[in-house]
Symmetry: C2
Subunit: 310 residues, 2 copies
């Protein structure tokens, strides 16, 4: 066993931090690490995704969930994922600072992750970071991300339970955003529930949920995260969802899909590296792109040539 | 030549609509179509991306840009891309309706596209839809998308020029979103510039742009799109950027990168289909995922097995 794997499995914070840096840098040392920890009771931790538009109060809500879990004696790992920044900790630095009140608690590990530069983005890096935290013995892993578009979908696919956070008065953007969220939300949280328009938002969500024929109907919880109000209800909703996952067998289905996605992402990253790399002494893809740009080959025929040369 | 390719090249709206549906459905008919149109003066049209958070006024701004281009006698194709919805036209239906004033103008083609269900998402489907519009003879192709996360980055990588739209008073979300946007913006537009806070937003952007050492410094333009104010300035900024692209050679660099990405996306989608498909009579990936879930194999070793079996 590598010493780093040893230290990760022992839950040592500096080793965990180094391991997640390995995930971000994607080298052979990462492979060696995952090869060891990948077969030690994987998929044990409960993974909760938390997503929502900018300004709905994601970091504050994450903070309250950390506190609630600590009261239950659970160790909590937090990944604050920024799908738009290629720089670790860039856009989320402020959020991270806000969560620093937990920095001295050894049962809490918080890390910002930038996934933009990655091969395969979020779907490549985050599952492996989750593996690291899982191996390090965290009971609950919170994955927080800005929720618009593909990032939101990706987070939902790698979490056991996904919280979609909304706030009243976010403009018609919330309306627009709603089309896709019913599918990914296991729990809806309307934060800033003391503000005007909260009841209208809750009503709209209720109507949406009522129309859904899915076996799990996402509960709608109101919170005022800055004052800690409603957090117990969020925890209760998450517990109810965990019970549903267990009883229905959906928990295993989700974890299996996660394992599948993780392997697929590694395969695609490896193949993509091979495509972009020098093949037969030249950069085949660059040559084909030049020909496509000149209209000398169509992109499908170019793709065929490339696949044939792999 | 297929009759559909013929009709697309003749710019017939119903054929264009059918061709984009083929892109969304990703079958062999699409391949046949692209094989024909892919070698007919590709990359001729000017592609302008327009991105911004929900509520900043993307559709209204798109509307004003359509009008401005029509005044110059240009044919305009619009792709309203919704990266969060698996349903065509779902979340963007309202926006599309707002743009319907151009519906009777044969020089304007507007289409909503959902990319979420796609293999490779946005980076797979949108370049091919752009190809269709390009072949159909549109001079300007506007690609509008909700701008947070990877979708924003993807749009920027496939456009010649990218407009990042902001509005004052969007909460600290705008602040948070700013970290990544400097890299992708070729033109900043502060819409709703008659609102409180507009000057502060412009000032912040100026400071950001001043710190950038890049050869092209994105101009910052104020607009009130609902009243058509400032649109000429946006057009002028886009023209200045087009001139920069031409003179610096960056225009060709961008188009080449686009061709490269397009081929790569097709290759990856093909390989991904093969990975998920039945190999040696079983679904190899599913079997490996079961073993990974049970901790019997690590994901890298699983990926190796899969690649070896391709």
């Amino acid at each position: 066993m590598t010493p780093l794997a040893d230290d990760v499995l022992a839950g040592r914070p500096r080793a965990i931090a180094r391991a997640i840096s390995l995930v971000e840098n994607a080298g052979t040392a990462l492979r060696d690490l995952i090869a060891v920890i990948g077969t030690r009771q994987p998929y044990r931790a409960r993974v909760v995704g938390l997503t929502g538009s900018p300004g709905v109060g994601k970091s504050t809500s994450t903070g309250t969930l950390i506190e609630a879990a600590r009261k239950r004696g659970e160790k909590v790992g937090v990944l604050a994922v920024d799908p738009s920044s290629p720089f670790t900790g860039g856009a989320l630095l402020g959020d991270r600072v806000r969560m620093q009140e937990h920095a001295t608690d050894s049962g809490v590990f918080i890390r910002s992750m930038a996934t933009r530069g990655h091969l395969g983005g979020l779907s490549w890096a985050v599952p492996q970071a989750i593996r690291v935290l899982d191996a390090a013995g965290f009971d609950l892993i919170l994955v927080e991300t800005v929720g618009v578009g593909q990032a939101e979908v990706d987070i939902a696919s790698l979490a056991d339970s996904t919280i979609v956070l909304l706030a009243p008065g976010m403009g018609d953007g919330v309306q627009a955003a709603k089309a896709g969220i019913l599918e990914i939300a296991d729990v809806f949280v309307v934060n800033k529930a003391d503000r005007e328009g909260a009841q209208a938002t809750i009503r709209e969500l209720r109507n949406m949920v009522a129309l859904s024929g899915a076996p799990w109907r996402p509960p709608i919880v109101s919170t005022v995260a800055v004052r800690g109000e409603g957090v117990d209800d969020v925890v209760a909703a998450l517990d109810a969802h965990a019970e549903y996952l267990e009883k229905s067998g959906q928990g295993r289905v989700r974890k299996l899909a996660r394992a599948r996605d993780e392997i697929e992402a590694i395969v695609l990253a490896a193949l993509r590296a091979r495509i972009g790399g020098p093949i037969h002494g030249d950069r085949r893809l660059d040559v084909l792109a030049e020909r496509a740009l000149a209209g000398k080959i169509d992109p499908y025929s170019a793709a065929d040539e490339l696949i044939a040369s792999l």
